[in-house]
């Protein structure tokens, strides 16, 4: 039956083999089948960026990907960014700079910025081109841009955040 398909994919380092309805959006697979609700859905049109995850290292809209398209792919979501020791510099910077308010758009922004920082994208481009692919209705972006500057000045991939 070509309306169902068994796919194998890696999510945050964990392998999954699962049968899906081929029309299932990746955003729904992650959120409802795998319980990874940190990725959020804002529009299902690719316009808001809230659903952004990394597929094979690239920031993409999970609401615009049918699950069979990621058969064999490696996916990273917000749940896989921080570790037990601490937050990723992008996360730590957003926390320190008050770069989030309601938090709904935040995971998507984190994923895009994590990929950009990893790829050596300069901070200026991260603040314009990369952040330009995300809508935030709460912060007005000012503090998110400040957080990019902070995160780009930190080294490493884990920052322990004490109080």
């Amino acid at each position: 039956m070509s309306s169902r398909r068994t796919i194998t994919l890696t999510v945050n380092g964990n392998g999954h083999t699962t049968e899906v309805d081929v029309r299932t959006l990746l955003s729904d697979l992650l959120r409802h089948d795998f319980g990874l609700t940190g990725t959020h859905v804002g529009c299902e049109q690719g316009a808001c960026g809230a659903c952004t995850v990394l597929v094979d290292g690239r920031a993409v809209r999970s609401c615009l990907i049918l699950t069979p398209e990621v058969d064999g792919a490696s996916i990273e979501t917000i749940e896989g960014v921080a570790d037990a020791q601490g937050l990723h510099p992008v996360q730590a910077a957003l926390l320190g700079e008050h770069g989030m308010q309601c938090g709904f758009c935040t995971a998507g922004i984190v994923m895009s910025l994590v990929a950009a920082r990893r790829a050596g994208v300069p901070a200026d481009e991260a603040k314009t081109e990369v952040l330009g692919g995300h809508l935030c209705r709460c912060t007005g972006y000012v503090n998110i841009r400040a957080a990019v500057d902070i995160a780009w000045n930190l080294t490493g991939t884990s920052v322990s955040v004490g109080r």
Binding site: L25, D28, G46, R58, L64, L66, E69, S112, G132, G133
Partner: protein
């Protein structure tokens, strides 16, 4: 919203895709990057019974650049082109790519998908037209057809691709000069309210190219303006020709007059030696 039900087929070769299209092309859509198609499925504005994905067809995932231009398989993504130093050297390509949505869209959107979708406000179809590029279409019924951009881009979201055809390659010739892309919109990455692609030839090597997109039902070459530019007319005369000859429609966002006028403005800026520009309410890039 969620897509209507469909069957999904992803054969490993172009030949198999062509067989499927021959059998069910009328009821099928071809899924490339999905950045235009999936939004339509998610709104149920398209409800095909079959989605055919050529994503496993290695032969349409590569590209090459040489002195004559870019030859790209249909599934090459905008990001792959953007990241290639060679591709960026093709006049007009980097500018066009930079204006397509955002990096998160460009990581998936494909050159073939974009051209086949034929959105009148999209950059790659306009660039294809300006560079006098071609597309390759293959089918069981008609074999291989190589079609000019002008013939391929028929109207708004309408191309000359038959339902049983697969667009396999896009060819962008190397323009002997500079190619400058300008756009007007509300925000960077938005579909252009109006945009232009202007080819400024190195002396004597080629003729001018002046394309306006986002104004009418498809990207359009303003041939009279091109001739005037070739004949050495003043920039003002060329701009006036653009404004007079551009076919434009008005809508809730902008009048036809606005689109015609701004098309002229963008062409004027390009001819006066400007580099690529995106002007939006907000910041200029």
């Amino acid at each position: 919203m969620k897509p209507s039900p469909f069957d999904y087929l992803d054969p490993a070769t172009v030949d198999e895709v062509l067989d499927l299209l021959a059998e069910m092309g009328d009821d099928a859509v071809v899924l490339a990057g999905g950045q235009s198609l999936i939004p339509l499925l998610n709104l149920r504005l398209a409800a095909p019974s079959v989605v055919i994905s050529p994503r496993r067809c290695a032969e349409i995932r590569t590209f090459s650049i040489d002195a004559t231009g870019l030859d790209a398989g249909a599934l090459v993504t905008a990001a792959e082109l953007e990241e290639s130093t060679d591709a960026r050297s093709l006049p007009g390509l980097a500018d066009s790519l930079r204006n397509i949505g955002h990096i998160q869209i460009r990581n998936r959107t494909t050159i073939g998908g974009s051209v086949a979708h034929a959105d009148p406000a999209a950059e790659l179809p306009a660039l294809l037209l300006a560079l006098e590029g071609t597309v390759t279409l293959r089918s069981r019924a008609r074999g291989t057809r190589v079609m000019s951009a002008d013939d391929f881009l028929v109207g708004p979201l309408i191309s000359a691709r038959e339902p049983d055809e697969l667009l396999t390659r896009v060819n962008l010739p190397r323009f002997a000069g500079d190619v400058v892309v300008g756009e007007i919109g509300d925000r960077p990455g938005d579909f252009a309210t109006v945009g232009t692609v202007v080819g400024r030839p190195h002396t004597g090597a080629a003729t001018h190219r002046i394309v306006v997109f986002g104004a009418g039902g498809r990207a359009q070459r303003i041939t009279r303006a091109e001739r005037l530019a070739d004949e050495g007319a003043s920039v003002d005369e060329v701009v006036t020709a653009v404004r007079n000859d551009t076919e434009a429609t008005g809508d809730a966002h902008a009048s036809a007059d606005y689109r015609r006028h701004v098309a002229g403005t963008l062409v004027g800026r390009a001819l006066r030696g400007g580099s690529g520009s995106t002007s939006t309410t907000g910041e200029r890039r």
